[in-house]
């Protein structure tokens, strides 16, 4: 079966700035895919290109098998949760959703909306206007709005931004529930590796518009190996390791060494042994640590 979202060599520029550069990805059907990257890495641009909200410069984009910019039918069963959710304020949320359900071609808009409100956990607040809702409820309203398309694919751009930690967990759990109960393909973006890897089955990492990685969270952790070393002369050790081709970052209490994979650990141990003996450096501890996205990107 064809993947619901395919990008092949997609490039997008804004003036002189390259937002995406020859990016090729495939989003697997009915899986949760997390799109990771720092601010300005091209995540939102990619989402908007996938939805046909903006044009690509070159390359090929297929959403449910068709180009979403040229053929609006590609978006028929695609729900979209924007980065900062916004819905028209001229009507109560429920009325907006009913009208939107008609746009999506629902034959029984009220039933569709009732179900979406229930699934998104918006019950009791649907008669308020969008601007009257709290940040968490706005996010839920946006999720309800995305669900009225009866989606096969749900695309969420930073669905947990601007939320408190408890609400972040609730929203992510809700998305996981939707993926499982409704058999949705879910593509969502985020900043925090731990948060994304908690629910994603497949991870895409972007940096400066380039694709750094696509694969499972486990593989990402493997290639993002980081070692923390405690020793008596960290500044000197840092300099010596850099001379040996290792990328390091010095902190007052430890030295972080960025490796290109776990297979580099034996070489590091060997080099450390030689350096310690030759330069009289006492090494107190060596620990592998789980990389954050920031640390992983710093390594690049």
């Amino acid at each position: 079966m064809r993947a619901p979202i395919i990008l092949e060599n997609v490039t997008k520029t804004y003036g002189n700035k390259k937002a995406l550069l020859n990016v090729s990805i495939t989003v697997k059907e009915k899986k949760i895919t997390g799109l990771l990257g720092p601010n300005g890495s091209g995540k939102t641009t990619m989402i908007k290109i996938i939805l046909g909200i903006i044009r690509k410069d070159t390359g090929k984009v297929l959403l449910r098998g068709t180009d979403p910019f040229k053929d609006p039918r590609a978006r028929e069963h695609v729900g979209y949760i924007p980065e900062r959710p916004e819905l028209p304020n001229s009507m109560p949320v429920r009325e907006v959703l009913i009208t939107a359900a008609r746009i999506y071609g629902s034959t029984s808009p009220k039933d569709t909306v009732d179900e979406a409100i229930s699934l998104a956990g918006l019950s009791g607040n649907e008669w308020k206007r969008f601007k009257e809702l709290s940040a968490g409820l706005k996010q839920r309203a946006a999720i309800a709005h995305a669900l009225i398309s009866n989606p096969d694919i749900l695309i969420a751009d930073e669905p947990t931004s601007n939320l408190d930690p408890i609400e972040r967990v609730r929203i992510l759990d809700l998305l996981v529930d939707l993926n499982r109960k409704e058999n949705l393909t879910l593509l969502f973006t985020g900043h925090v590796l731990a948060e994304v890897s908690r629910i994603a089955e497949d991870i895409i990492v972007l940096r400066n518009g380039k694709l750094l990685f696509q694969g499972s969270p486990r593989n990402l952790m493997d290639i993002a190996s980081i070692v923390a070393i405690r020793a008596n002369d960290l500044v000197r050790l840092s300099k010596l390791l850099e001379e040996q081709g290792f990328k390091t970052r010095y902190t007052p209490f430890s030295l972080t060494v960025y490796l290109s994979g776990r297979e580099e650990i034996p070489r590091l141990m060997k080099v450390l042994g030689i350096l310690a003996g030759r330069h009289g450096i006492d090494i107190y501890s060596i620990d592998t640590v789980e990389a954050s996205l920031e640390e992983m990107l710093r390594r690049e």
Binding site: I53, A74, R75, E86, L87, P88
Partner: protein, 249 residues
Amino acid sequence: MSLRRISGLLSLDLSDTIRPPLLYFMVFVITLLSVVLAYVQLFSTTESLAMNILRPTLLATALFLALRGASGISQLISNRVMEVYLSYPVSRLSIAIVLYISRVVVPSILLITIPLLAAGIVLGPLIMQEPSNYILMGVSFLVQALFYGSVFILIALIAKSTGTTSILSLLFYFSYNIIALILSSVSSSVTSTMFRLAQAMSFYMTVYNSLTTNIEALRPYLWEYLLVPLLTLLSALAFILILSRRFEP
């Protein structure tokens, strides 16, 4: 493309355009003024009645189109509701047409037609002498309003900012009318090209002259009839083409 989808989007966008109280307040005020004017002033012809009632109405319509219609489109862009529209399974061409109808056509019709009807009811016997002329005058003012609205929403699409759109739209409106005034003031005679151009810049003046002048030399030329409708068509097409082909929120 299903008509049901397009009508859904139209009702969603219209709910923003005609949300209370601005439009209702403006319709009420200009209708009241029109009725009062119809009562207190003596009009001998339907054309002069329409002209006197609809000139202030046109100003109010232009203000509404700049401050709510076009600025509303900028607001859609800046608050990202436009992204929501563009994520619907509706073609960009349909979205552009819906926005044009919702932000320009519907408010123009409401603001021009309601005072015209109210004054027509008050001075029914006078209107019934030449109802077609009364309607023609109404249509000519409507075309002029559509012209302003088309330019304003084109500005909105390019400016993408509510404040800039309002300022540039009002600047365009007043500059356009001042230029027409200057052209008519400096022209040597009422038959000169400059004077004709000044008159043609207001479509209702061309229609008024056509309906009221018996002197052949003063009758408008064909290009005078075509100037504003063509500019309206071009602006509207430019808006629709930019939104459907090039626009990115």
